[in-house]
Amino acid sequence: MREYLNGNEAVAYAVKLARVEVVAAYPITPQSTIVEEIAAQISRGEMEAEYIRVESEHAALAACFGAAVSGSRVFTATSSQGLAYMFEMLHYVSGARTPMVMAVANRGLAAPWTIWVDHQDSISCRDTGWIQLYVETAQEALDTCLQAYKIAEDPRVLTPVMLCLDGYVLSHTEEIVDIPSQEEVDRFLPPYQPQVLVDTQRPAVFGVGAGPDTYPAFKEAQQVAMERAKEVIRRVDEEFYALFGRRYGGLVEDYRCQDAEVILVTLGAITGTAREVVDFLRQEGAKVGVLRLRALRPFPVEDLRQALKGARVVAVLDRNCSFGYEGVVCTEVKAALLGLQQPPVVVGFIAGLGGQDIRREDIEGIFRRCLNSTEGAPL
């Protein structure tokens, strides 16, 4: 079934199709219409789930945690300040190895107060132990939400997934979205089968305390699970393709990078504009490409090295800033390329903070500056 949907509606449809059993959420712009649509689906009798109307985002994630350890497939969504408010619960959920999916409609953080998009909110949560997947379209938001449950619940992974979609640009912008049937989704995503859950016949502790002798082993297990998640994310994307005919490159999506002299690394919706600029410049004969990071955690080091090793210049477009240094993705890309025989020069560009539009000309300008740079000259 094909319909005009915005990113938030697409996520809400995916939540229904994933047969999510418990939803706990607190409204915040630009996420709110996700949970409004879910509430409407439940109210219309189209979705059967418990909807816990919590009093804060902190409580939303705590309620999701309680429901997940009790054996339910759960969902929540937030943005910006709400995500920041959840911060301590983020670590709890991932540390207790609780699979769940949370949509983050990306929005800048106050102050100055803003409701518009940048990635500062989710990037600030980079080290919370959640898998982070950034999507480019409403269709990908729907598809990735379904994939995310399969990834999170994989016994080798057992790690929550943050599904990041650009506020307004994706959350509130309509496009034609192919909605799969319930039967198709059921074939792709079987019911959640937790290995350990709240069970009075088999008492267990969720969220134990641990001393210096045992704590590191828990943290190492999380790191191992994240490493394993790389292969699981790739495989789930391929399984999805086999059933639905759509795939997103697994961890990274490469666009005309193979022979490219200059490659732009992106995150999220701006990639669409970057592709157009690449096509335009290619007509001029410029060898340019775009590499979209779909996964920020786990960080796709191997895929990045493979895709970027032939380039002369790698430009990184960051919609965030690590104050006192540079864009976070830029730092990550630099580190990933260390040790290559002839490593490309990596240049960071910070743009589009707090919803400022990143225009076609801006991206063209980035490419031209990189194309015109000569070896050894600073950019």
Binding site: E21, V22, A24, E50, I52, R53, V54, E55, S56, H58, A59, A60, A62, A63, C64, F65, G66, A67, A68, V69, S70, G71, S72, V74, E88, M89, Y92, V198, D199, T200, P203, A204, V205, F206, G207, V208, G209, A210, G211, T214, F218
Partner: protein
Amino acid sequence: MEKKGGNTLKIQDLPEDELVFGSFACAGCGGILAVRLALKVLGPETVIVTTPSCLLGVTTFYPQLAFKVPCVNVTFPSTAAAVSGVVAGLKRRGKEHITVLGIAGDGGTVDIGLQALSGAIERGDNFIFLCYDNEAYMNTGVQRSGSTPLGAHTTTTPVGKMLKGEDRPKKDMLRIVAAHDIPYAATASIGYPQDYLRKIQKAKETKGPAYIQVLSPCPPGWGYPSDLTVYLARLAVQTGAWTLAEYEQGKLTVKKIDHPKPLKEYLSLQARFAHLV
């Protein structure tokens, strides 16, 4: 034993099975006694949700599991929110007969946990919230809480030239939960186990949220020999320092003490009040 609302419960009828066993609690810990007694009434079909309080520290430190029931540990502000999640999760699995018991100290209840508790009571979820009130943040080293009584010395209300202990009265949590039109709420004392256990039983039988705040003396926090825990828990009631009250069907009843003992008897046994007597 007092009979009320058809509930009869005798201590001799309590099961010998211990559902909390092998904890690292201090000698004379009132909190662990409160939890132990409550679990004897609630039985094995119970799930505990608690926070990184004293209780977590002494019962569920890996690989320890001092409970014979499942235990979900969650962040300090979120006990009651996680309770709502567990209630919803159990409902989805058709296990609504299981009692969900949120447990927090006074800090995790009247201060940092108050917002979540208010939310869960207002939503009308079916659970019991047990506040073991030892009248300060004991696990972090005896700092004052909203539940610390007037005049008590704590490490953040130290007695000195400028300050004579806690300068604010104790927060009236029972009236706060009562204002939510909660189906059942009560205060209790581990010094009056029959009264306490009857209230736990009532809470279990209540449809919807139930709240019990039980006075749980703390030897290191209050500064008294550990064999006086139960004695002090009784003396608190007998001197009027603590009241046994019940709120049900919109009515608050307070157990009247006919011949209260002098408050000095209670205060003089505790280092936290040494500057007053």
